[in-house]
Subunit: 124 residues, 4 copies
DNA sequence: GTGGTCTAGACCACT
DNA sequence: GTGGTCTAGACCACA
Protein backbone atom coordinates (compact mmCIF):
# COMPACT_ATOMS: atom_id res chain seq x y z
CA UNK A 1 0.00 0.00 0.00
CA UNK A 2 1.41 3.30 -1.15
CA UNK A 3 0.87 6.47 0.83
CA UNK A 4 1.49 9.84 -0.73
CA UNK A 5 1.33 13.14 1.07
CA UNK A 6 0.78 16.45 -0.67
CA UNK A 7 2.75 18.88 1.44
CA UNK A 8 1.23 21.82 -0.44
CA UNK A 9 -2.31 20.75 0.35
CA UNK A 10 -4.31 22.79 2.82
CA UNK A 11 -5.43 19.52 4.40
CA UNK A 12 -3.51 18.59 7.52
CA UNK A 13 -0.99 15.80 6.97
CA UNK A 14 -2.58 13.57 9.60
CA UNK A 15 -5.94 13.96 7.83
CA UNK A 16 -4.44 12.98 4.48
CA UNK A 17 -2.83 10.00 6.17
CA UNK A 18 -6.11 8.99 7.79
CA UNK A 19 -7.99 9.30 4.50
CA UNK A 20 -5.50 7.22 2.58
CA UNK A 21 -5.57 4.48 5.18
CA UNK A 22 -9.38 4.44 5.07
CA UNK A 23 -9.16 4.21 1.27
CA UNK A 24 -6.76 1.29 1.71
CA UNK A 25 -9.23 -0.51 3.94
CA UNK A 26 -12.15 0.21 1.61
CA UNK A 27 -10.28 -1.17 -1.41
CA UNK A 28 -9.11 -4.19 0.61
CA UNK A 29 -5.46 -3.30 0.17
CA UNK A 30 -5.25 -3.74 3.93
CA UNK A 31 -7.56 -6.21 5.55
CA UNK A 32 -9.15 -6.68 8.95
CA UNK A 33 -6.64 -8.09 11.42
CA UNK A 34 -3.57 -6.91 9.55
CA UNK A 35 -1.16 -4.48 11.19
CA UNK A 36 -0.21 -1.02 10.07
CA UNK A 37 3.49 -0.09 10.19
CA UNK A 38 4.84 1.25 13.48
CA UNK A 39 4.60 5.00 13.88
CA UNK A 40 8.35 5.40 13.54
CA UNK A 41 8.54 3.23 10.46
CA UNK A 42 5.68 4.92 8.63
CA UNK A 43 7.00 8.34 9.61
CA UNK A 44 10.35 7.52 8.06
CA UNK A 45 8.83 6.02 4.91
CA UNK A 46 6.56 8.98 4.29
CA UNK A 47 9.09 11.57 5.43
CA UNK A 48 7.13 13.12 8.25
CA UNK A 49 7.33 13.32 12.01
CA UNK A 50 6.51 10.36 14.24
CA UNK A 51 4.01 12.42 16.24
CA UNK A 52 2.02 13.26 13.12
CA UNK A 53 1.61 9.56 12.30
CA UNK A 54 0.65 8.97 15.91
CA UNK A 55 -2.11 11.56 15.62
CA UNK A 56 -3.49 9.90 12.48
CA UNK A 57 -3.55 6.53 14.27
CA UNK A 58 -5.25 8.06 17.31
CA UNK A 59 -7.98 9.53 15.11
CA UNK A 60 -8.42 6.24 13.26
CA UNK A 61 -8.86 4.51 16.59
CA UNK A 62 -11.45 7.02 17.79
CA UNK A 63 -13.36 6.65 14.54
CA UNK A 64 -13.42 2.87 14.85
CA UNK A 65 -11.06 1.75 12.10
CA UNK A 66 -8.16 0.35 14.09
CA UNK A 67 -7.33 -0.89 17.57
CA UNK A 68 -4.03 -0.40 19.30
CA UNK A 69 -2.76 -3.83 20.31
CA UNK A 70 0.12 -3.75 22.77
CA UNK A 71 1.92 -6.51 20.94
CA UNK A 72 1.01 -6.03 17.30
CA UNK A 73 0.75 -2.23 17.22
CA UNK A 74 -2.08 -0.71 15.16
CA UNK A 75 -4.36 -3.46 13.85
CA UNK A 76 -7.23 -2.97 11.41
CA UNK A 77 -10.39 -3.62 13.43
CA UNK A 78 -13.62 -2.17 12.10
CA UNK A 79 -16.09 -1.05 14.71
CA UNK A 80 -19.27 -0.79 12.65
CA UNK A 81 -21.62 1.61 14.37
CA UNK A 82 -23.79 1.86 11.30
CA UNK A 83 -26.44 4.21 12.65
CA UNK A 84 -23.82 6.75 13.59
CA UNK A 85 -21.96 6.25 10.33
CA UNK A 86 -25.12 6.76 8.26
CA UNK A 87 -25.97 9.99 10.05
CA UNK A 88 -22.43 11.27 9.60
CA UNK A 89 -22.52 10.45 5.91
CA UNK A 90 -25.93 12.04 5.44
CA UNK A 91 -24.73 15.30 7.00
CA UNK A 92 -21.71 15.42 4.72
CA UNK A 93 -23.67 14.40 1.65
CA UNK A 94 -26.13 17.18 2.33
CA UNK A 95 -23.57 19.95 1.99
CA UNK A 96 -21.84 18.14 -0.88
CA UNK A 97 -25.08 17.90 -2.88
CA UNK A 98 -26.04 21.46 -2.01
CA UNK A 99 -22.77 22.56 -3.58
CA UNK A 100 -23.55 20.37 -6.55
CA UNK A 101 -27.00 21.92 -7.02
CA UNK A 102 -25.48 25.40 -7.07
CA UNK A 103 -22.98 24.26 -9.68
CA UNK A 104 -25.57 22.67 -11.98
CA UNK A 105 -24.59 19.09 -11.25
CA UNK A 106 -27.67 16.97 -11.84
CA UNK A 107 -29.03 14.18 -9.70
CA UNK A 108 -28.25 11.70 -12.48
CA UNK A 109 -24.66 12.84 -12.67
CA UNK A 110 -24.24 12.31 -8.93
CA UNK A 111 -25.65 8.78 -9.18
CA UNK A 112 -23.22 8.05 -12.01
CA UNK A 113 -20.32 9.39 -10.01
CA UNK A 114 -21.27 7.23 -7.03
CA UNK A 115 -21.35 4.13 -9.24
CA UNK A 116 -18.02 4.95 -10.86
CA UNK A 117 -16.34 5.37 -7.47
CA UNK A 118 -17.85 2.14 -6.15
CA UNK A 119 -16.58 0.29 -9.24
CA UNK A 120 -13.10 1.76 -8.74
CA UNK A 121 -13.02 0.69 -5.12
CA UNK A 122 -14.45 -2.78 -5.18
CA UNK A 123 -12.75 -3.52 -8.47
CA UNK A 124 -16.06 -4.08 -10.23
CA UNK B 1 -33.32 31.96 6.53
CA UNK B 2 -32.21 30.68 9.90
CA UNK B 3 -28.55 30.19 10.70
CA UNK B 4 -27.50 28.08 13.64
CA UNK B 5 -23.95 27.70 14.82
CA UNK B 6 -22.72 24.82 16.99
CA UNK B 7 -19.94 26.40 19.00
CA UNK B 8 -18.84 22.99 20.27
CA UNK B 9 -18.41 21.59 16.78
CA UNK B 10 -14.94 20.79 15.53
CA UNK B 11 -15.86 22.63 12.35
CA UNK B 12 -14.74 26.25 12.21
CA UNK B 13 -17.54 28.76 12.63
CA UNK B 14 -16.89 30.39 9.26
CA UNK B 15 -17.14 26.98 7.59
CA UNK B 16 -20.48 26.30 9.28
CA UNK B 17 -21.65 29.73 8.14
CA UNK B 18 -20.52 29.09 4.58
CA UNK B 19 -22.22 25.69 4.51
CA UNK B 20 -25.51 27.02 5.76
CA UNK B 21 -25.51 29.81 3.21
CA UNK B 22 -24.79 27.31 0.43
CA UNK B 23 -27.67 25.18 1.74
CA UNK B 24 -29.86 28.28 1.62
CA UNK B 25 -28.95 28.88 -2.02
CA UNK B 26 -29.48 25.22 -2.95
CA UNK B 27 -32.94 25.15 -1.38
CA UNK B 28 -33.83 28.49 -3.01
CA UNK B 29 -34.36 30.19 0.33
CA UNK B 30 -32.07 32.85 -1.06
CA UNK B 31 -32.06 33.45 -4.77
CA UNK B 32 -29.64 34.77 -7.34
CA UNK B 33 -29.42 38.57 -7.12
CA UNK B 34 -30.64 38.79 -3.53
CA UNK B 35 -28.39 40.21 -0.84
CA UNK B 36 -27.08 38.57 2.28
CA UNK B 37 -27.23 40.55 5.54
CA UNK B 38 -24.39 42.97 6.18
CA UNK B 39 -21.33 41.62 7.96
CA UNK B 40 -22.11 43.62 11.07
CA UNK B 41 -25.77 42.62 11.13
CA UNK B 42 -25.17 38.90 10.64
CA UNK B 43 -22.41 38.89 13.24
CA UNK B 44 -24.75 40.44 15.77
CA UNK B 45 -27.69 38.18 14.94
CA UNK B 46 -25.67 35.00 15.20
CA UNK B 47 -23.55 36.19 18.11
CA UNK B 48 -20.12 35.87 16.53
CA UNK B 49 -17.21 38.07 15.58
CA UNK B 50 -17.40 40.32 12.51
CA UNK B 51 -14.09 38.96 11.25
CA UNK B 52 -15.63 35.50 11.17
CA UNK B 53 -18.55 36.59 8.99
CA UNK B 54 -16.12 38.44 6.77
CA UNK B 55 -14.07 35.31 6.32
CA UNK B 56 -17.14 33.28 5.38
CA UNK B 57 -18.15 35.87 2.76
CA UNK B 58 -14.63 35.98 1.34
CA UNK B 59 -14.59 32.20 0.97
CA UNK B 60 -18.04 32.22 -0.64
CA UNK B 61 -16.77 34.76 -3.14
CA UNK B 62 -13.65 32.74 -3.93
CA UNK B 63 -15.77 29.64 -4.43
CA UNK B 64 -18.11 31.44 -6.81
CA UNK B 65 -21.32 31.78 -4.82
CA UNK B 66 -21.52 35.53 -4.18
CA UNK B 67 -20.08 38.82 -5.32
CA UNK B 68 -19.18 41.66 -3.01
CA UNK B 69 -20.76 44.96 -4.04
CA UNK B 70 -19.91 48.20 -2.29
CA UNK B 71 -23.51 49.31 -2.24
CA UNK B 72 -25.54 46.12 -2.10
CA UNK B 73 -23.10 44.14 0.05
CA UNK B 74 -22.89 40.40 -0.55
CA UNK B 75 -25.08 39.43 -3.49
CA UNK B 76 -25.81 35.88 -4.57
CA UNK B 77 -24.11 35.40 -7.93
CA UNK B 78 -23.35 31.86 -9.02
CA UNK B 79 -20.20 31.37 -11.05
CA UNK B 80 -20.69 27.88 -12.45
CA UNK B 81 -17.33 26.33 -13.24
CA UNK B 82 -18.81 22.90 -13.63
CA UNK B 83 -15.67 20.95 -14.56
CA UNK B 84 -13.88 22.16 -11.46
CA UNK B 85 -16.97 21.55 -9.31
CA UNK B 86 -17.33 17.99 -10.58
CA UNK B 87 -13.72 17.14 -9.84
CA UNK B 88 -13.98 18.64 -6.36
CA UNK B 89 -17.13 16.66 -5.67
CA UNK B 90 -15.59 13.45 -6.99
CA UNK B 91 -12.60 13.79 -4.65
CA UNK B 92 -14.82 14.33 -1.64
CA UNK B 93 -17.24 11.58 -2.61
CA UNK B 94 -14.31 9.16 -2.87
CA UNK B 95 -13.33 9.47 0.78
CA UNK B 96 -16.99 9.64 1.85
CA UNK B 97 -17.84 6.39 0.07
CA UNK B 98 -14.65 4.73 1.31
CA UNK B 99 -15.79 5.50 4.84
CA UNK B 100 -19.19 4.10 3.96
CA UNK B 101 -17.73 0.85 2.63
CA UNK B 102 -15.83 0.32 5.88
CA UNK B 103 -19.02 0.91 7.84
CA UNK B 104 -21.15 -1.54 5.82
CA UNK B 105 -23.17 1.11 4.01
CA UNK B 106 -24.24 -0.42 0.69
CA UNK B 107 -24.24 1.20 -2.72
CA UNK B 108 -28.03 1.04 -2.77
CA UNK B 109 -28.28 2.82 0.56
CA UNK B 110 -26.06 5.62 -0.75
CA UNK B 111 -28.22 6.03 -3.85
CA UNK B 112 -31.30 6.20 -1.63
CA UNK B 113 -29.67 8.78 0.60
CA UNK B 114 -28.76 10.91 -2.41
CA UNK B 115 -32.37 10.82 -3.64
CA UNK B 116 -33.75 11.66 -0.21
CA UNK B 117 -31.46 14.66 0.09
CA UNK B 118 -32.32 15.88 -3.41
CA UNK B 119 -36.02 15.60 -2.59
CA UNK B 120 -35.51 17.53 0.64
CA UNK B 121 -33.68 20.31 -1.13
CA UNK B 122 -35.73 20.83 -4.24
CA UNK B 123 -38.91 20.17 -2.37
CA UNK B 124 -39.73 17.17 -4.59
CA UNK C 1 -8.98 26.79 42.38
CA UNK C 2 -5.42 25.75 43.19
CA UNK C 3 -3.65 23.14 41.12
CA UNK C 4 -0.53 21.47 42.39
CA UNK C 5 1.61 19.08 40.41
CA UNK C 6 3.97 16.59 42.03
CA UNK C 7 6.81 16.37 39.55
CA UNK C 8 8.27 13.41 41.43
CA UNK C 9 5.07 11.39 41.15
CA UNK C 10 5.00 8.41 38.83
CA UNK C 11 1.63 9.62 37.62
CA UNK C 12 1.77 11.51 34.34
CA UNK C 13 1.38 15.26 34.73
CA UNK C 14 -1.65 15.39 32.44
CA UNK C 15 -3.32 12.70 34.59
CA UNK C 16 -2.66 14.69 37.79
CA UNK C 17 -4.07 17.74 36.07
CA UNK C 18 -7.17 15.85 34.93
CA UNK C 19 -7.73 14.43 38.42
CA UNK C 20 -7.44 17.78 40.12
CA UNK C 21 -9.87 19.36 37.72
CA UNK C 22 -12.35 16.53 38.31
CA UNK C 23 -11.91 17.06 42.04
CA UNK C 24 -12.59 20.75 41.48
CA UNK C 25 -15.84 19.96 39.69
CA UNK C 26 -16.89 17.43 42.32
CA UNK C 27 -16.33 19.90 45.14
CA UNK C 28 -18.11 22.65 43.18
CA UNK C 29 -15.02 24.86 43.11
CA UNK C 30 -15.70 25.07 39.38
CA UNK C 31 -19.26 24.87 38.19
CA UNK C 32 -21.07 23.80 35.07
CA UNK C 33 -20.81 26.47 32.39
CA UNK C 34 -17.70 28.09 33.78
CA UNK C 35 -14.53 28.23 31.71
CA UNK C 36 -11.16 26.73 32.53
CA UNK C 37 -8.08 28.89 31.89
CA UNK C 38 -6.61 28.84 28.38
CA UNK C 39 -3.98 26.17 27.82
CA UNK C 40 -1.22 28.76 27.66
CA UNK C 41 -2.34 30.49 30.83
CA UNK C 42 -2.69 27.33 32.89
CA UNK C 43 0.60 26.02 31.55
CA UNK C 44 2.35 29.16 32.71
CA UNK C 45 0.64 29.19 36.11
CA UNK C 46 1.49 25.59 36.83
CA UNK C 47 4.91 25.71 35.24
CA UNK C 48 4.45 23.04 32.60
CA UNK C 49 4.26 22.86 28.84
CA UNK C 50 1.23 24.06 26.91
CA UNK C 51 0.91 20.70 25.12
CA UNK C 52 0.63 18.86 28.41
CA UNK C 53 -2.30 21.01 29.48
CA UNK C 54 -3.81 20.49 26.06
CA UNK C 55 -3.62 16.73 26.53
CA UNK C 56 -5.36 16.95 29.90
CA UNK C 57 -8.16 19.03 28.34
CA UNK C 58 -8.50 16.56 25.45
CA UNK C 59 -8.88 13.67 27.89
CA UNK C 60 -11.41 15.61 29.97
CA UNK C 61 -13.41 16.22 26.82
CA UNK C 62 -13.35 12.56 25.80
CA UNK C 63 -14.45 11.55 29.28
CA UNK C 64 -17.36 13.96 29.19
CA UNK C 65 -16.36 16.64 31.70
CA UNK C 66 -15.78 19.62 29.43
CA UNK C 67 -16.61 20.85 25.96
CA UNK C 68 -14.34 22.94 23.80
CA UNK C 69 -16.24 26.07 22.81
CA UNK C 70 -14.62 28.01 19.99
CA UNK C 71 -15.29 31.28 21.74
CA UNK C 72 -15.08 30.51 25.45
CA UNK C 73 -12.38 27.84 25.36
CA UNK C 74 -12.79 24.84 27.67
CA UNK C 75 -16.15 24.99 29.42
CA UNK C 76 -17.33 22.65 32.16
CA UNK C 77 -20.13 20.59 30.61
CA UNK C 78 -20.95 17.27 32.25
CA UNK C 79 -22.06 14.54 29.89
CA UNK C 80 -23.63 12.09 32.31
CA UNK C 81 -23.56 8.64 30.77
CA UNK C 82 -24.39 7.02 34.07
CA UNK C 83 -24.50 3.41 32.93
CA UNK C 84 -21.01 3.66 31.51
CA UNK C 85 -19.78 5.58 34.53
CA UNK C 86 -21.17 3.00 36.96
CA UNK C 87 -19.51 0.13 35.10
CA UNK C 88 -16.21 1.97 35.03
CA UNK C 89 -16.43 2.67 38.73
CA UNK C 90 -17.38 -0.91 39.53
CA UNK C 91 -14.36 -2.25 37.65
CA UNK C 92 -12.02 0.07 39.52
CA UNK C 93 -13.67 -0.54 42.88
CA UNK C 94 -13.25 -4.27 42.37
CA UNK C 95 -9.47 -4.13 42.19
CA UNK C 96 -9.36 -1.49 44.93
CA UNK C 97 -11.38 -3.64 47.33
CA UNK C 98 -9.44 -6.76 46.37
CA UNK C 99 -6.29 -4.95 47.45
CA UNK C 100 -8.05 -3.93 50.63
CA UNK C 101 -9.08 -7.49 51.44
CA UNK C 102 -5.48 -8.65 51.10
CA UNK C 103 -4.39 -5.87 53.43
CA UNK C 104 -6.96 -6.63 56.15
CA UNK C 105 -9.12 -3.59 55.47
CA UNK C 106 -12.63 -4.48 56.59
CA UNK C 107 -15.86 -3.79 54.81
CA UNK C 108 -16.88 -1.44 57.60
CA UNK C 109 -13.67 0.54 57.26
CA UNK C 110 -14.28 0.99 53.54
CA UNK C 111 -17.80 2.26 54.17
CA UNK C 112 -16.44 4.72 56.70
CA UNK C 113 -13.79 5.91 54.29
CA UNK C 114 -16.41 6.44 51.59
CA UNK C 115 -18.52 8.54 53.97
CA UNK C 116 -15.54 10.59 55.10
CA UNK C 117 -14.58 11.39 51.52
CA UNK C 118 -18.15 12.30 50.60
CA UNK C 119 -18.32 14.64 53.59
CA UNK C 120 -15.03 16.26 52.58
CA UNK C 121 -16.24 16.82 49.06
CA UNK C 122 -19.79 18.03 49.51
CA UNK C 123 -18.78 19.94 52.58
CA UNK C 124 -21.17 17.94 54.73
CA UNK D 1 -7.33 -19.63 38.27
CA UNK D 2 -8.00 -18.14 34.86
CA UNK D 3 -6.09 -15.11 33.64
CA UNK D 4 -7.36 -13.12 30.72
CA UNK D 5 -5.51 -10.26 29.10
CA UNK D 6 -7.13 -7.57 26.97
CA UNK D 7 -4.43 -6.61 24.53
CA UNK D 8 -6.45 -3.64 23.34
CA UNK D 9 -6.78 -2.19 26.81
CA UNK D 10 -4.97 1.00 27.66
CA UNK D 11 -3.78 -0.71 30.82
CA UNK D 12 -0.31 -2.22 30.59
CA UNK D 13 -0.30 -6.01 30.42
CA UNK D 14 1.79 -6.37 33.58
CA UNK D 15 -0.74 -4.25 35.45
CA UNK D 16 -3.63 -6.40 34.24
CA UNK D 17 -1.65 -9.47 35.32
CA UNK D 18 -0.94 -8.00 38.75
CA UNK D 19 -4.59 -7.03 39.23
CA UNK D 20 -5.89 -10.46 38.32
CA UNK D 21 -3.47 -12.15 40.69
CA UNK D 22 -4.53 -9.80 43.49
CA UNK D 23 -8.16 -10.64 42.68
CA UNK D 24 -7.21 -14.33 42.91
CA UNK D 25 -5.73 -13.83 46.36
CA UNK D 26 -8.69 -11.75 47.55
CA UNK D 27 -11.18 -14.40 46.44
CA UNK D 28 -9.05 -17.17 47.97
CA UNK D 29 -8.55 -18.87 44.64
CA UNK D 30 -4.89 -18.83 45.55
CA UNK D 31 -3.97 -19.03 49.20
CA UNK D 32 -1.08 -17.93 51.37
CA UNK D 33 1.88 -20.27 50.90
CA UNK D 34 0.83 -21.54 47.48
CA UNK D 35 3.01 -20.92 44.43
CA UNK D 36 2.22 -19.02 41.26
CA UNK D 37 3.20 -20.62 37.95
CA UNK D 38 6.79 -20.12 36.81
CA UNK D 39 7.49 -17.03 34.75
CA UNK D 40 8.12 -19.11 31.65
CA UNK D 41 4.98 -21.19 32.10
CA UNK D 42 2.64 -18.29 32.75
CA UNK D 43 4.09 -16.35 29.82
CA UNK D 44 3.41 -19.27 27.52
CA UNK D 45 -0.11 -19.94 28.86
CA UNK D 46 -1.21 -16.34 28.52
CA UNK D 47 0.68 -15.68 25.30
CA UNK D 48 2.86 -12.82 26.46
CA UNK D 49 6.52 -12.03 26.90
CA UNK D 50 8.51 -13.49 29.83
CA UNK D 51 9.78 -10.04 30.73
CA UNK D 52 6.20 -8.90 31.21
CA UNK D 53 5.40 -11.70 33.67
CA UNK D 54 8.64 -10.97 35.45
CA UNK D 55 7.69 -7.34 35.83
CA UNK D 56 4.28 -8.26 37.27
CA UNK D 57 5.90 -10.57 39.83
CA UNK D 58 8.44 -7.92 40.79
CA UNK D 59 5.69 -5.39 41.38
CA UNK D 60 3.68 -7.91 43.40
CA UNK D 61 6.71 -8.47 45.58
CA UNK D 62 7.32 -4.77 46.10
CA UNK D 63 3.69 -4.29 47.04
CA UNK D 64 3.84 -7.10 49.58
CA UNK D 65 1.74 -9.84 47.98
CA UNK D 66 4.36 -12.50 47.17
CA UNK D 67 7.89 -13.52 47.91
CA UNK D 68 10.32 -14.82 45.34
CA UNK D 69 11.93 -18.10 46.37
CA UNK D 70 14.71 -19.69 44.29
CA UNK D 71 13.21 -23.16 44.64
CA UNK D 72 9.46 -22.58 44.95
CA UNK D 73 9.27 -19.57 42.63
CA UNK D 74 6.66 -16.93 43.43
CA UNK D 75 4.90 -17.78 46.69
CA UNK D 76 1.89 -15.93 48.05
CA UNK D 77 3.05 -14.14 51.20
CA UNK D 78 1.04 -11.18 52.40
CA UNK D 79 2.94 -8.38 54.04
CA UNK D 80 0.18 -6.37 55.69
CA UNK D 81 1.28 -2.79 56.13
CA UNK D 82 -2.20 -1.61 56.90
CA UNK D 83 -1.51 2.05 57.54
CA UNK D 84 0.15 2.45 54.16
CA UNK D 85 -2.58 0.40 52.47
CA UNK D 86 -5.34 2.53 53.98
CA UNK D 87 -3.71 5.77 52.84
CA UNK D 88 -3.21 4.40 49.34
CA UNK D 89 -6.84 3.30 49.17
CA UNK D 90 -8.08 6.63 50.45
CA UNK D 91 -6.17 8.52 47.76
CA UNK D 92 -7.59 6.33 45.03
CA UNK D 93 -11.10 6.38 46.45
CA UNK D 94 -11.00 10.16 46.49
CA UNK D 95 -10.58 10.52 42.74
CA UNK D 96 -12.96 7.59 42.12
CA UNK D 97 -15.73 9.19 44.18
CA UNK D 98 -15.06 12.60 42.64
CA UNK D 99 -15.68 11.03 39.23
CA UNK D 100 -18.83 9.43 40.63
CA UNK D 101 -20.15 12.74 41.96
CA UNK D 102 -19.72 14.32 38.52
CA UNK D 103 -21.59 11.44 36.94
CA UNK D 104 -24.55 11.56 39.33
CA UNK D 105 -23.63 8.42 41.25
CA UNK D 106 -25.05 8.79 44.74
CA UNK D 107 -23.40 7.93 48.03
CA UNK D 108 -25.96 5.17 48.56
CA UNK D 109 -25.19 3.63 45.20
CA UNK D 110 -21.49 3.55 46.05
CA UNK D 111 -22.19 1.81 49.37
CA UNK D 112 -24.32 -0.74 47.53
CA UNK D 113 -21.62 -1.32 44.99
CA UNK D 114 -19.06 -1.86 47.73
CA UNK D 115 -21.30 -4.44 49.40
CA UNK D 116 -21.99 -6.22 46.12
CA UNK D 117 -18.30 -6.50 45.35
CA UNK D 118 -17.51 -7.74 48.86
CA UNK D 119 -20.21 -10.38 48.53
CA UNK D 120 -18.83 -11.46 45.17
CA UNK D 121 -15.34 -11.79 46.55
CA UNK D 122 -15.88 -13.49 49.87
CA UNK D 123 -18.70 -15.54 48.46
CA UNK D 124 -21.17 -14.03 50.86
C1' DG E 1 -4.60 36.20 21.85
C1' DT E 2 -6.29 31.43 21.19
C1' DG E 3 -6.02 26.75 19.79
C1' DG E 4 -4.39 23.56 15.96
C1' DT E 5 -0.67 21.63 13.56
C1' DC E 6 3.87 20.16 12.72
C1' DT E 7 8.44 19.36 13.85
C1' DA E 8 12.13 17.74 16.95
C1' DG E 9 14.59 15.65 20.62
C1' DA E 10 14.75 13.30 24.87
C1' DC E 11 13.63 9.92 28.44
C1' DC E 12 11.09 6.20 30.19
C1' DA E 13 7.83 2.30 30.35
C1' DC E 14 6.65 -1.66 28.12
C1' DT E 15 7.11 -5.82 25.36
C1' DG F 1 12.66 -1.66 19.37
C1' DT F 2 7.96 0.18 20.46
C1' DG F 3 4.76 3.53 22.04
C1' DG F 4 3.89 7.06 25.82
C1' DT F 5 5.14 11.26 27.84
C1' DC F 6 7.09 15.70 28.22
C1' DT F 7 9.32 19.61 26.57
C1' DA F 8 10.08 23.25 23.14
C1' DG F 9 9.64 26.30 19.31
C1' DA F 10 7.44 27.73 15.20
C1' DC F 11 3.71 28.90 12.00
C1' DC F 12 -0.96 29.31 10.80
C1' DA F 13 -6.02 29.40 11.30
C1' DC F 14 -9.46 31.32 13.95
C1' DA F 15 -12.19 34.63 16.66
Amino acid sequence: MIIEIDFNSDEAIYIQLRNQIIMGIATSEIQEGESLPSVRQLAETVGINMHTVNKAYTVLKQEGYIQLDRRKGAVIALDVNKIEAVEKMRAQLRILLARGLCKDISRVEVHEMVDEIYDEMIGG
